[in-house]
Amino acid sequence: MTRRRTTLRGLGAVATVAVMLVLAACSGGQSSGDDKSVTVVGTWGGSEQESFLAMVKPWEDKTGNKVKYTGSRGLGAYLTTAVQSGTLPDLAGLPGPGEMQGFYAQGALKALDDVLDMNTYTAETAPAFVDLGKAPDGKTIGVFIKSALKGLIWYNTGNFTGEPPTSWDAVMSTDKGNAENLWCVALESGADSGWPGTDWIEDIVLRTAGPQVYDDWVNGKHKWSSPEIKAAFEAFGDVLDDTYGGPTLINSTNFGDGGNPLFTDPPGCLFHHQASFITDFFKKQGGAQDGEFDFFPMPDMNADFAGAFTGAGDLFGLFSDKAAAKDLLKYLTTAEAQQIWVDRGGALSANTKVTKYPDPVSERSAKILTGAKIFRFDGGDLMPQAMKAAFFRAMVDFAEDQSKLDSILTSLDETAASSYTQ
C-alpha cells in the first residue's frame, strides 16, 4: 500500500511538471524562434524565391543571422489570420498598400522611421514609392524591395518591324500582317483571375482621364459608372474584340502563357500588353530568345496627361521589434541588396542608385520608370481587398460578355459603397 502510494505521488509530481511544460510551450509558441533568425513571409516561389534568398545571402554572411523564408500565394488571407492570432512573422511582403494601412491601423505593423536612415532612404527612393509606403499619420510603414513598370506593349521583332506607334489610334490600326489578331490577352490566374485586365483599365484611365480622376477612382470617390471609367472599359472592349481566341481563350489562358501566340508561326497576335516581368515568361513558356521580342511604351491617349505610367512593386513591412529583423529590413532597401535581384533578372529596382541593368529591355523599363512625368501605383492594389477582388472578377465577367458592362459597373459601385466605409 505504502509502495503504491509513493508511485502515485511520483506520477502526480511528473504530471504536474508536464502540465507546466505544456502551458509554457503554449505560451511560448507565439515567439518566432531565437534572436539570430528572422522569419520572412512573401508571395515569391520558384525562381523569384531563389532571387530573394540570393539577395539576403550577403546579409546572412555578414551578420551571422539566418533568414527563414516561407512563400505563400494566399498572402492576404495568411496575414489576416496571423494578425488576428498574433503569431506574426518578423518581416512580411504586403499584398498591397491598402492592406498595409489596415495592418498598421490594427497595430500589427511597425513604423520604420527609427529603423531606416530616413534621409538616405528618401534620397535614394523614387518619391512615388516613398509616398506609397506612408501611413496617414506620415510615418513610413512599408518599403519597396523591387518594382515593375506596367503599360508596356510587347511584340515579336520578327513580326512587327515598323516604328513604334505614337498614338493609341495608330496602335489600334496597325497592319496585322499575317497575324490572326492584333492582341493577345490572358486573364486566368487562379483565385486572382482577371488582374491583367485591371492593368489595362488602369493604364487607360490614367492616360485618358488623368491622375486626379485616377486617384479619386482608386480611393472610392469617383464612380465606376462615370463616363470616364465606362469609356476605359469600352476602349478595352475594342481590344478584346480583336483578340486571339476570343472570350473563351482570354479567360482560360494563364497570364504567363498570354504572350505565347506572339511566337507561333503564323502568329496568333501582334501585340501583348503586360508589365516588365513578362520577359521571363516569354523565354520560359513561349520559347523565345533574347532579342526576339521588344516593347514600346503604351502611348499617350490624351495630350494633357503625356508621359503617364503605372507600375507596381513588392512592399515589405516589419511586424516585430527584433533587432535582426530591423537590420534586415534596412539592408533590403539598399542599392547593394536590390542590385542582386536586378542582376538575376525579372525585376526593376525601387532604389534610384541602381542603374546597372543586365539587358537593354530592363534598362529601358527602368529609365521610363524613373523618368515618368506622371506615375501612379497599380490601382487595384491600392483598393480595399473586397473592391480589388470585385475588380478582378469584373474583368473576367466583362471579357466573357461585354454586353453586361452596365450591370458590371453598377455592381462595382455597390461594392465600392460598402468596402470603402469600413
Binding site: A18, V19, A25, G33, S193, S252, Q385, A389, R393
Partner: protein, 325 residues
C-alpha cells in the same frame, strides 16, 4: 526548428501524462467520498476533459458564430436579421445555393451509384484488389492537387490547334469541341465538370465501404436465391440491394455533407466565377476577402443548418444498426 521539436516532444509526452495525472488525481479525490456515490461520479469525471474540449473547440465557436451572424461586418453593432436577408436576397448567394444543391444531388448520386456499381462488379473478378486500389487512389490526393490535375485534363486550346487537354483531345477524335469545360455556362457544363472532379475523388471511398458491406452478406443467402431460380439482376435487386441499404445510407449522408462543404475544387479552378460559386467558397470570400464577419457567420450558420438533418439521419442509422447487433 529546435524550438518546434521541443514543443512537439512536450506535447507528445506531456498530454498523455497530464491525462494520466488527471485520472489519478480524480481517483485520489474520490477516496474521500462514499464508494457508491463515487461510482456514480467517476464516469463524469473521466469524461470531463473530452467534454471540456468539445465545449471549447466546437460548442463555444458555434454559439459565437451564431451571435456574430446577427452583428455587422466588424462584429460591433447588432443588425438583427440583415445578414440573413442579404443571404436570401442577393443573386450571387442564391446562385451559390443553387450550385451547392447541384453538388449535393449529383455528387452524391455519382459517388454512390458508381461506388456501388464498381463494388458489385469487382466482387466477381480475380484482380479485385488491383481494381479497387486504382479507384481508391484519388482519395489520397489533396483536393487542390486533384483540381490542378483536372485543370490540365480540361485544358482548352483554340479550335484548329492541337488540344493539349485530355478531355478535349478525346472528344476531338469524334470531331466534337473543344469545350472550355470549367467555364462553359451552357447546360451548366462548368458546374458538372467541377462536380465530376468531386465524384472522381470520392468514388473510391464509397466503393470500399460498400464492398465491405457486400462481403458481409452471407453467401448461403445468395446461393439459396439462385437455387430458387432468381437471375443475377433479381439477386441484386431483391437481396443485395436491400441488405446494403443501411450502408448506402451511411455513405450517402457522408457524401452529402462533403458536397455541402465542397470548397477547394471551386476555389482552385474558377474561384466562383462563370456561375460556379458554392456556399462554402462564399463563406471564405466574405470572411477573408470582404472581411465581413457578420455575413461570413450567417453563411456558416446556413451551412450548419443545412448539414444538421443529414447528421441526425446518420446518427439515427448508427443507433439502429447498433441496436440490431
Amino acid at each position: 526548428m529546435e524550438q518546434r521539436i521541443i514543443t512537439a516532444a512536450i506535447v507528445l509526452l506531456g498530454v498523455p501524462l497530464v491525462l494520466v495525472g488527471y485520472i489519478l488525481l480524480c481517483e485520489r479525490l474520490l477516496r474521500f467520498v462514499p464508494e457508491k456515490r463515487g461510482d456514480r461520479i467517476r464516469p463524469w469525471l473521466w469524461i470531463a476533459p473530452a467534454v471540456a474540449f468539445l465545449v471549447v473547440f466546437l460548442i463555444y465557436p458555434t454559439f459565437n458564430t451564431l451571435v456574430l451572424s446577427f452583428m455587422d461586418a466588424t462584429s460591433r453593432n447588432f443588425v438583427g436579421l440583415d445578414n440573413y436577408l442579404w443571404f436570401f436576397g442577393d443573386p450571387s448567394t442564391i446562385e451559390a445555393l443553387r450550385n451547392s444543391v447541384l453538388w449535393v444531388i449529383f455528387m452524391t448520386a455519382g459517388v454512390v451509384g458508381l461506388g456501388l456499381l464498381i463494388a458489385v462488379l469487382v466482387d466477381r473478378v480475380r484482380y479485385e484488389p488491383v481494381a479497387k486500389t486504382a479507384i481508391f487512389v484519388p482519395l489520397a490526393i489533396s483536393f487542390v492537387a486533384a483540381a490542378i490535375i483536372w485543370n490540365f485534363m480540361y485544358q482548352y486550346k483554340p479550335p484548329g490547334t492541337p488540344q493539349t487537354g485530355t478531355v478535349n483531345a478525346v472528344i476531338g477524335l469524334v470531331a466534337l469541341g473543344p469545350i472550355d469545360w470549367i467555364r462553359e455556362r451552357t447546360f451548366l457544363i462548368d458546374n458538372f465538370a467541377l462536380i465530376f472532379i468531386g465524384v472522381w475523388i470520392w468514388t473510391g471511398f464509397a466503393m470500399v465501404i460498400l464492398s465491405a458491406g457486400l462481403k458481409g452478406i452471407s453467401v448461403e443467402l445468395l446461393e439459396a436465391a439462385r437455387v430458387d431460380g432468381a437471375n443475377e439482376w433479381q439477386v441484386f435487386r431483391r437481396i443485395i440491394f436491400p441488405l446494403l441499404l443501411p450502408t448506402i445510407y451511411v455513405v450517402a449522408t457522408t457524401i452529402i455533407i462533403t458536397a455541402l462543404k465542397s470548397f477547394d475544387i471551386v476555389y482552385t479552378l474558377t474561384n466562383g466565377a462563370f456561375g460556379t460559386d458554392v456556399i462554402a467558397r462564399k463563406m471564405f470570400f466574405e470572411m477573408f476577402t470582404t472581411q465581413n464577419f457578420g455575413r461570413a457567420s450567417a453563411v456558416a450558420i446556413v451551412l450548419l443548418v443545412a448539414i444538421i438533418p443529414f447528421m441526425a439521419v446518420n446518427i439515427r442509422r448508427f443507433r439502429e444498426q447498433e441496436a440490431i447487433r
